[in-house]
Subunit: 427 residues, 2 copies
Amino acid sequence: MKNNSTFALRGSICYSLDAETLAAEEHAYVVCENGVCAGVFQELPSRFQGIPCTDTGSSIIIPGLTDLHLHAPQYSLRGTKMDLELLDWLNAVAFPEETKYSDLTYAEQAYRIFTEDLKKSPTTRACIFGTLHVKATELLMDLTEETGIKAYIGKVNMDRNGPAELQEADAQASSQATVQWLTDISGKYENVKPILTPRFIPSCSDELMGELSDIQKKYRLPVQSHLSENPGETLWVQELCPDSSFYGDAYDRFGLFGGDSCPTIMAHCVYSSDREIALMKKRGVYVAHCPQSNMNLSSGIAPARKFLDQGLHTGLGTDIAGGHTLSMFRAIADAVQVSKLHWRLMEESQKALTFAEAFYMATIGGGSFFGKAGSFLPGYEFDALILDDSLFPHPQPLSVPERLERLTYLGGDQCVTGKYVSGRKIF
Amino acid sequence: MKNNSTFALRGSICYSLDAETLAAEEHAYVVCENGVCAGVFQELPSRFQGIPCTDTGSSIIIPGLTDLHLHAPQYSLRGTKMDLELLDWLNAVAFPEETKYSDLTYAEQAYRIFTEDLKKSPTTRACIFGTLHVKATELLMDLTEETGIKAYIGKVNMDRNGPAELQEADAQASSQATVQWLTDISGKYENVKPILTPRFIPSCSDELMGELSDIQKKYRLPVQSHLSENPGETLWVQELCPDSSFYGDAYDRFGLFGGDSCPTIMAHCVYSSDREIALMKKRGVYVAHCPQSNMNLSSGIAPARKFLDQGLHTGLGTDIAGGHTLSMFRAIADAVQVSKLHWRLMEESQKALTFAEAFYMATIGGGSFFGKAGSFLPGYEFDALILDDSLFPHPQPLSVPERLERLTYLGGDQCVTGKYVSGRKIF
């Protein structure tokens, strides 16, 4: 559906020019022309004279934020049972919860809570894991479509090492269910799209990976999965895949690790070796850096500075429910905080992230997985947030970037008073 | 003033029995008798039949939280300029802001924002740094008194290594200003009390420390300061105090490091040696563990598990504005999170903190600096929070401790619908 909306927003506009540089203009206009950003202007150019304009007063206007990795079915258990490491947590907490989504009544109740919160959040684009259940994943897609948010959503594949209640019978069954899902939803949505979602190597047999490789090629799907999150998991993958040189190679052997025809997101990469990072760079694989989850599951701290320095595509993910909050503002602050601990405790040659760098990751960094998204440079999809930070009064004058940094730390989700995705007003 | 209020609250009651154990009772009563907790009951005992009772429905009722370390004048700059280490941050950010408090108009504007937020927060008791300014500190005490929260508040002492605009002329001047302050406020307040507050060793000459030692003895004041927060700071103290065996010894030489007649709080203790910890244990010195600040200022991670194992008094502090939020719920979650990174990255023999342990630190751990505070065991001061977590809906049943853990992670400050301090209703 063509988007014919053309309008301007006026306020204190702040956005990334590149990974290091925040641009900020007060009392400026950002123009949406048919869903696409036409640029930021101190005065409206003559060709835009007379278009509808909303003056947001002293509000800050920023590009929308992209959550590059989260598990919708785990939203229900966020913030509980936080005392386990990844593999134990999957077996004791996450898998039992995901099992419940075979029940569509439960799924609808849980996914309505999730999508209502997602709509109100600062997230404009997201890459989302469902469960292995076809019908529940379709329901999640239906409900996400209604929010107006752009999302890739994946039915999860898993045919080994899970509980009997949360495992597909075999590779064939998993493959057939995936094709069924893709057939069911074909042409159905405007905002949401399917993404191939092998859970992680320990959950997917070689046979299943082969099937998924065929499906990926046939349907030209992007891929999302997990990589090198936890020491125990990484060792286990070595045992499971003795022929793979490293964890990422276990995806790459099946052509499911990036490249022009297979855009791929890998979550975490806490323990990625230099060889793994080099292959990710070569294949254009996106890192979904999930600092909060990496703390909660005692995984460690991913080398985000190295990702930036090496030129990897790097975005941020909340990783609900390894992470406990849907807030991408919190993800930005967490990324800065853990990078300081990484510098102090692990590698003093790798400087901590600046606020501008983490903000870039949450906007252009992850947004670029969707094409041109995450900036107010001309030609970008018009995703925007209007932020009213007056609930955090201050006695001294502050610059726009200072106000943005401050609301990011103080709980920016409460500040979101308006949200646009591709020029459409969400609220 | 005697507190004659006797009443009951009914709801889902949750509190620490000891450092490891959370007690939880649904549909139970907690009774306040003349400002003191009479206990938790499934049925009201006959002697309490007929007392006023507020049924909070499904709300959770917990003891109040104690913030053992924060800087009120820095509240204005929280969440900004977060890219520096301690000593650089003090010089570039914190000291210039504190300088402004010589202007009482600015101080009133800033302290009104701070105290209004403190009143709404889950904090019922706090240990607060002011600035070196006598009048501004008295203003802070006036405004805090009005909130009904119990607080120790200190006029800061600093006579060296500061900027000219934020330094007292000499030890005598600092000492005289302190006595002036103590004289001005004598007998003035019910809720707030003075606490001796040498900023930290680098800010206080030996002569000043000697003067403060005399004042401490004469006025029988408790003491708060900073200890072993940052590697650069700790090295500097070694240079400044070549006769001291370790940082804490530089306080101890002046009798300002705990003991029965000198209750003392030391913030941070990230780099405390075993000898320092042993002396803290011997002297009963309180650790104010400030995990968020220790991340934001790239300080590191304090060995909280070791503090607990060694039996040190350990509470939590927000350390506004090294920390960016006044939320003691966030401090609890942060304490758990960084302890997981400490386990993973620093010392696998030191297990991560459990939620119950961090909750204990925020209640009894810090509360005990004020006497019997932080529990619903009989005889404790009746500090209570009523928490409505219905803004975080969930599809599955959750136990009371699970709900408490969850709201702690999800932003519990928004859940506080009622607050009592020593039996007085704050709101």
